[in-house]
């Protein structure tokens, strides 16, 4: 696919919290990563407001195993500690395939619609393990990105057949990638075929729920971002050209 990148992401643990258990705090993980979690990982690798990342496929490499940990999180409103059981996925390894498209909601950034440039930056970023630190689901589950060929190597689920996971959270639609005025949640029913989950595009999710009104973040040249030319000038001010 055009503008596609492929990488493998792995970590010691992952926690893609099931929203049902999220609100109480005793977090229990989904068995597979959500679209949104993978999108977050790709955005950590490389992101600009000009582009929107789409996750095409994920390949689950290791068998799905969970491990429970008793944790002592700090309470939000006071200095005390709480006691909780969190259930993590152990030794997760995922191969991911994603591509970007330009964000039609940002015509003001149209001058930056340079496919070749963004694709190359993205590929370079993957090679270097991403630009920001990567985590699998929740912040304490640090992940590591490496370039790979999607489909190479052996997966535990290679000849496993089909597994259905029932309705799951797909992702959020933020105003800047949706209708510009609301914050939405999407649900879908994923199926894993021989370890591979092909994601449907966000706009194809049948179940969409508007959570509340929200507005798009504005990017104004000179006030909350600077162009690369200005940045260059600024950086190399004192240097002889």
């Amino acid at each position: 696919m055009r503008n596609q990148i492929e990488f493998v992401v792995h970590g010691k643990y992952a926690l893609f919290t099931d929203p049902v258990t999220r609100i109480g705090g005793e977090k229990f993980t989904y068995q597979i990563p959500t679209y949104q979690a993978l999108k977050g990982i790709v955005e950590s690798v490389y992101w600009k407001p000009t582009i929107t990342w789409y996750i095409d496929e994920v390949r689950v490499m290791n068998s799905i195993q969970t491990e429970v940990k008793a944790v002592r999180p700090i309470k939000y409103q006071n200095d005390g500690n709480d006691l909780m059981y969190y259930t993590y996925l152990r030794n997760p390894i995922y191969q991911v395939r994603a591509h970007f498209e330009f964000n039609e909601n940002r015509p003001d950034l149209a001058y930056d619609y340079n496919e070749h440039k963004h694709h190359n930056i993205a590929k370079r970023s993957v090679k270097r393990g991403g630009r920001r630190d990567v985590f699998l689901g929740t912040r304490e589950c640090q992940g590591y990105v490496e370039a790979c060929q999607f489909g190479e190597g052996e997966s535990f689920y290679d000849d496993y057949g089909e597994v259905s996971f029932g309705p799951m959270f797909h992702g959020f639609t933020y105003p800047d990638e949706g209708d510009q005025e609301s914050f939405q949640t999407r649900l879908w029913v994923p199926t894993m075929r021989n370890g591979i989950i092909s994601f449907i595009r966000p706009e194809n999710c049948e179940i969409v729920r508007t959570i509340h009104k929200d507005k798009m973040k504005q990017f104004k040249k000179g006030s909350n971002f600077t162009s690369v030319e200005e940045e260059y000038e600024d950086m190399f001010k004192g240097v002889e050209k």
């Binding site: 999220r22 609100i23 109480g24 005793e26 229990f28 939000y76 909780m84 996971f165 649900l187 729920r209």
Partner: protein
């Protein structure tokens, strides 16, 4: 699929069980209908179809379980007024509660209750029974009637005695034997005179359950939306069930907590923004889980484990011993007889187990039933319950795993038959309960033991290797036979359990209870040496009716740490026995010589022995004790 969806599937598949009582573990239980809760009642009032008081009685504890129609508010009520329907506490059902000594703040309770009942009685989902009950309770004379029926005793000013005053003469009335918090907190259930003998009582009448469910659907205008569990557009709820593990358990699996913990804050303003859950799926999942736990759950400390099939809940319990898995005594008859002829019952048991499991597996598969779920729950704090283990397997994998566990983690198990007090033995897997006792000692904290259960679960149902530290702990305990003195535990049975676990750890090497003559691993041979020394000395001491510990036992620990050096010591101390007893010990001397020869010079070191040495020891002892006849022949030869 998520655990909630799985559980609600169990509910769907067992719809026929709803409201039907069965007795298990000496308790009556049932799968509750949606929108109903289980409560214990203490007083039963029978009324006539016209709504007149007929009579009343105090209910004994065994029959107290009552299915009560409830709203989400009443099922989760704490201090505020939130009445159930139909049956409830005196404070709700009695219009004259305050008049007879109840706290004044409970005035509202009755009003709320009767308003609710009126709605149901006047709706099109009503039945003549509900109307009869409503017309009775609207008289507001429940306590008065109970007083007249001599259920509730009153003092001179017509106030109910909340507690039976000790100065009062006569026998304590029955009501005080069943209530825990005072007579005024008693729970009342109503029944309407039956027209025919096979008519169910009101609280077990499935027709009434359905009519209540429909009534609630129509009247309760609740918010609708997409359910995150089923994906359906449906009626939602924010209140979820408690009392999942037992009647006093207020911990909830689903709760919203952001005022004290950082759980969803950020994107969302309130819990319903973060997740929405359907009323039906929540009710069904919680009822199913409660039912399964009561029916077939096990628990250690606060942790509850339950294994169930989605379509047919009954499946083998992973924590059971091989004997328990066979229910009662398949070993007693044919197997035991065979076993007496040949010590090697290992394959026999495995074969029988395989047959039995395949039988069970077969009945399951035949009906296309193919999923099994293992789930464990625990609460770190009082209020919130967490899923701490969840595994969803295909049925054939599950049975394969259970069979594998019972054929790889096994050793000689000795038990006393309850009826005959006979000591019987078989080769099989001890129960997880006994393993926990053996690893940590019977006096260990149950919080430690529950971790062992949780850690063994993957070994049992996912065929994972056994954690090494568990084997090491029990090995260290068994190494010190003297630490078992003055305790109720038996060193021998702990040794057997240790051997089962060691056997599991060294699964690939294929150790058997039957002595492996050709095994020349260092640990195994040293174990055999110690075994021979033990049996020989024990025999001689027994002949002399001397009850002291053998040298082998005394040096057990030292032997495992410095085998070569300690063996020299033991060997030296055996010398007098050889000299004095003459020919009868010749066989042992020969055996020892044979094994010593096989331990080469490189192996004859003081490097500590691995747990495998226990296997050699146990097998050797077993061999010498059971092959008496053969031995005698050997003696002559030697």
């Amino acid at each position: 699929m998520s655990w909630m969806q799985q559980l609600s599937q169990v509910y769907d598949h067992n719809q026929s069980q709803v409201g039907k009582f069965e007795e298990r573990r000496k308790q009556r239980m049932t799968l509750l209908p949606v929108s109903h809760v289980m409560q214990s009642a203490q007083i039963e009032i029978l009324i006539t179809p016209e709504g007149e008081f007929s009579n009343a009685k105090v209910i004994e504890k065994e029959n107290a379980r009552t299915i009560v129609p409830a709203t989400t508010a009443s099922a989760n009520r704490s201090n505020t007024s939130a009445p159930h329907y139909m049956h409830d506490k005196l404070a709700y059902v009695a219009g004259d509660y305050v008049k007879h000594g109840g706290a004044a703040k409970h005035e509202e309770h009755y009003n709320d209750y009767s308003r609710q009942m009126k709605e149901w009685a006047q709706s099109d989902q009503t039945s003549w029974k509900i109307q009869a009950i409503y017309s009775y309770i609207s008289k507001g004379s429940v306590i008065e009637d109970l007083v007249n029926a001599k259920i509730l005793p009153v003092d001179v000013s017509n106030m109910v005695f909340d507690k039976w005053p000790s100065r009062e003469k006569g026998e304590k009335p029955d009501i005080y034997k069943v209530v825990t918090n005072g007579a005024l907190s008693a729970f009342v259930r109503f029944d309407v005179m039956h027209e025919s003998p096979d008519e169910p009582v009101v609280w077990e009448d499935s027709g009434l359950f359905d009519s209540f469910i429909r009534f609630l659907e129509k009247t309760n205008e609740q918010t609708k939306g997409y359910c995150y569990v089923t994906g359906n557009y449906t009626t939602l709820t924010t209140q979820h069930g408690s009392r999942i593990r037992n009647a006093g358990d207020m911990a909830k699996l689903i709760s919203a907590n952001d005022s004290s913990g950082y759980t969803y804050r950020g994107r969302f303003a309130n819990p319903t923004e973060a997740v929405q859950i359907g009323y039906d799926v929540s009710q069904q999942a919680h009822h199913a889980l409660r039912w399964l736990i009561q029916r077939q759950g096990t628990y250690v400390d606060s942790r509850y484990f339950v294994t169930f099939g989605l379509e047919q809940p009954e499946v083998p319990e992973p924590f059971e011993s091989t004997a328990e898995l066979f229910e009662e005594d398949i070993f007693s008859q044919s197997l035991q007889e065979l076993g007496e002829q040949q010590v090697i019952t290992e394959d026999l048991v495995a074969e029988e187990l395989n047959k039995a499991l395949q039988g069970m597996n077969h009945t399951l598969e035949k009906e296309n039933l193919e999923n099994i779920v293992v789930i464990a729950l625990d609460a770190a704090t009082k209020g919130r319950l967490a899923v701490v283990y969840y595994q969803h397997l295909k049925v054939d994998l599950f049975y394969k795993a259970i069979l594998h566990w019972h054929t790889s983690c096994r050793w000689l198990q000795i038990y006393q038959e309850e009826e005959t007090n006979k000591i019987k033995s078989y080769v099989g897997t001890p129960s997880t309960y006994r393993m926990a006792e053996a690893v940590y000692g019977s006096k260990a904290d149950s919080r430690i033991k529950k971790e062992l259960y949780t850690r063994l679960l993957p070994c049992i149902i996912e065929q994972k290797p056994i954690p090494k530290d568990i084997v090491q702990i029990i090995f260290n305990r068994v190494k010190n036979p003297f630490s078992f003195n003055n305790s109720n535990e038996s060193w021998g049975s702990t040794l057997n359990i240790a051997c089962a676990l060691i056997n599991k750890q060294y699964e690939r090497e294929g150790y058997t209870v039957a002595l492996q003559e050709n095994n020349s691993s260092r640990d195994y041979l040293f174990g055999r040496l110690l075994g021979i020394a033990e049996v020989m000395e024990r025999r001689i001491l027994k002949e002399r009716q001397d009850n002291r510990a053998t040298n082998a036992t005394r040096y057990f620990n030292a032997f495992s740490q410095h085998p070569a050096r300690t063996w020299l010591v033991i060997r030296k101390q055996l010398t007098p026995y050889f000299e004095r007893s003459g020919n009868s010990t010749g066989f042992y001397a020969m055996l020892l010589q044979k094994i010593e020869d096989r331990i080469t010079v490189e192996k004859m070191t003081n490097e500590p022995l691995s747990p495998v040495f226990l296997l050699g020891y146990s097998s050797q002892i077993q061999d010498l004790y059971t092959k008496k006849e053969e031995n005698k022949n050997d003696v002559i030869e030697a």
